[in-house]
Amino acid sequence: MAVAQAVNPFHEGLQLQGMTQPVQLCIFGASGDLTKRKLLPAIYNLVQAGLAPQAFSVLGCARNNLGDEGFRREFVDAVAESSEIRVRDADLLKQLCEQVYYVSLDFHDSAGYRTLKTKLDELDQRYHTCGNRVFYIATPASLYADITEKLHESGLLTPATPQSFVRVIMEKPFGHDLASAKTLNAELLRFLDESQIYRIDHYLGKETVQNILVLRFANGIFEPIWNRRYVDSVQITVAESLGIEGRANFYEETGVVRDVIQNHALQLMSLVAMEPPTTFDARDFRDEKIRVVEAIRPIEPADVNSVAVRGQYGPGSVEGERVVGYREEPGVAPDSMTPTYAALRLFIDNWRWAGVPFYIRSGKRMPKRVTEIAMQFKEAPHLPFRKAQVETPEGNVLSLGIQPDEGVVLKFGAKVPGPSMRIRAVEMDFGYGETFGAEDASPYERLILDCMKGDQTLFDRADGVEAAWSLVDPVLTQWAKTPAAFPNYAAGTWGPAEADALVQRDGRHWRRL
């Protein structure tokens, strides 16, 4: 046999078709909700779009005794029920299901992993996937370390050949606090190299989140004004109109800071505040992103009350319907101290952002679902229109809509037609949906594909996760020590009065969304 050429010469120019190496995808937690709602539809979409490799197989494993046929039925049902499927092709789905298998596995049982290895080796031979493996661990986070250790013991984390790869995708949360995140990272790194670990925060897979980078770094007009000289403040809102949707067990343990602020909101903040990376490769991009989080002024325990506000919703009305308070939700303790709302005032101690407050808020049962970043610019230094009626008392706002209305809106003053000088605020509105009508790939599609390609750019790194925990840890610790007067905001409102005060103390106010 001749020595293999290192590079396949036929791939160049075919990147648009997203070609990847042959690979087998093994899902832990295959009978879980995430697998059904997100992963299986994403896999189907990748295959339907021709983005998955030809040599490809899927192996699900979970405790249930589903069998191959049972898992295939779940696959078909998941595709049928998903709203994220772009093109429904029954023949393709049938064909794909022939490449889908299932192994019943007790995640703590070493013997089960030997069975798993036998099955994976057999499928590798059958589908010529060249020993390339991606393990997607979609289980509770408490199982990550154990599963990784068992995979290691059974030899499944060692690439079969120098050319093949083994990668592991893990879902957030990565730990419960800084200490547990450090412990988890240390345990994972005993058996895996950092280059094999793909920590998913699905927010980074969203097209519009990535568009923040394009807006900033592919357009010359924004970067010169993207700093303390021109930016007055930044507001990041991640608001949900929904409550906890029956996930009391999860939410009681988690709360809004762990669920949203520590990951999604800080991801948005780092993207909007990071320095331009030299390249968009994984190392440069993640280095810059993490530098921002590390530059956020630490919150001292004594300062928690002045920079952070927590809230919990009581009964109220959302989108025209009466809803119960958090403590009345099924499964929630009647004296629960879990925050469903949090607001933070943060500062980034570097040259670009010195003195610019970043206000972050996130909550459940807000008046509407909206995620946006708003750059509030400073007012014009002098208005020469002395006798003008001015309706723009504040400066310009550039708002980056993440969901549900994805786009960019610039608010500025314009003269109202007529003989007198009247200035009114108007909006220049770019809507993603009105310009690029094609349906976006789901974040999971993008991120699974990136993992199969070996691109870690949009995944979290151990030091990034720990930096984010170090920031919020003092807040969580302080809040755990002191009870709050919950509930303190009615469902269907924008949070507690203290959150308004947090911003008003600086002479500002939350944007009316």
Partner: protein
């Protein structure tokens, strides 16, 4: 405003209506406002490019618009179909406009359609009219939907307005002449022009299949010994000129594996007479020193490509089945519009 019967939330205008050239912008604005539903943003008007379409016959404009409209959900486009008819006398330019919206009623994606026609003596006026209605500062594509453009006054007038040109070399005939036309368009050896070819995109499933075969390290290990290539294309007669598509495919293989040069051939496959003339029906890579081979053959039903790799002793090593649906003109156009930068692989295939 009507919603189409297939359930898609499509909003249509009443069709092309005649306007004076000077009134085109005003007429489009008025149509947009008429069509947009109340809940839509009152000044929503997105556009990502101007697409000029040179049609061969004035009757072409409706099917061409339908082809482009099928992409409207993806690209809000200003499309301008132009035609300078040798059968029409005079310099006068006739114009029609329409606007078509698609998508959710509250946030429709709207495209604008303009058709212009004159006699052959009116080319200069058509070009000046087009120049005046290009969307400012956005890319301009020219889809040349005709035969060899060289010597056509409309081509010479329009090419200076465009950033990129899309052609279909299947319309340039067969044999070396078609590829020569492409090379001249691109300006190989001279001033480069950005050209996309729908016919090149038709080879994409074959290129993807070959690339995928060699993703397998064991098959990749055969590559250093593979030095001969044969491509069979569908033909009715052995005297038919070589298919442009087969030649493009061969150019690509030779550009990727230069050692194939001198040992590459295309041949007509008369057994495939029921397949559209010129289509690639098989590709075989073989070795002059051993029995290693990679073979790919068109599968008629369901349409796809069957692949096989043979080891150095001739034994079967791998088999594959690749889906490879036939792309419509709209889908091919979509791919051409998606490629934003230069396509050095295409140019290398032409140069090989």
């Amino acid at each position: 405003m009507t919603i189409s019967g297939d359930g898609a939330p499509r909003i249509q205008a009443t069709g092309l209506s005649r306007v004076a050239v000077a009134d085109i912008e005003g007429a489009l604005k008025q149509r947009r406002q008429t069509m947009l539903p109340k809940e839509a943003h009152p000044h929503a008007h997105s556009c990502v490019m101007t697409l000029i379409i040179a049609v061969e016959d004035v009757e072409d404009k409706q099917p061409v618009f339908r082809t482009v409209e099928s992409l409207a959900g993806k690209y809000p486009i200003r499309m301008i179909a132009v035609r300078a008819s040798a059968r029409q006398s005079g310099e006068e330019v006739f114009a029609w406009v329409n606007a078509a919206c698609e998508g959710e009623p509250a946030a429709p994606i709207c495209s604008e359609e303009i058709a212009m026609q004159s006699g052959i003596d009116g080319v200069e006026h058509i070009v000046s009219a087009v120049r005046g209605i290009l969307v400012p500062d956005l890319p301009v594509f020219l889809w040349w939907r005709g035969g060899t453009p060289h010597g056509d006054p409309l081509w010479h007038g329009l090419r200076s307005l465009c950033d990129r040109t899309i052609v279909d070399s299947i319309r340039f005939g067969d044999g070396a002449a078609a590829l020569d036309t492409l090379r001249r368009l691109i300006g190989i050896g001279g001033t480069r022009m950005s050209v996309r070819d729908l016919n090149w995109q038709r080879t994409a499933p074959w290129r993807a299949a070959i690339a995928t075969c060699f993703d397998d390290p064991e098959v990749l290990g055969l590559l250093p010994t593979l030095d001969r290539c044969s491509i069979i294309y569908a033909a009715g007669d052995e005297r038919d000129l070589p298919s442009a598509r087969a030649m493009l495919m061969m150019g690509w293989l030779v550009s990727r594996l230069p050692r194939l040069r001198g040992h590459a051939r295309t041949a007509p496959g008369r057994a495939w007479a029921d397949v559209e003339h010129g289509r690639v029906v098989s590709i075989t890579l073989t070795s002059s020193t051993n029995k290693a081979a990679v073979l790919l053959v068109r599968r008629p039903s369901p349409v796809g490509i069957d692949g096989e790799a043979r080891a150095t002793d001739g034994s079967q090593m791998r088999r594959w089945r690749y889906p490879a649906s036939t792309l419509s003109e709209a889908e091919l156009l979509d791919v051409c519009l998606e490629i934003l930068g230069p396509d050095p692989v295409f140019e290398a295939a032409l140069e090989a």
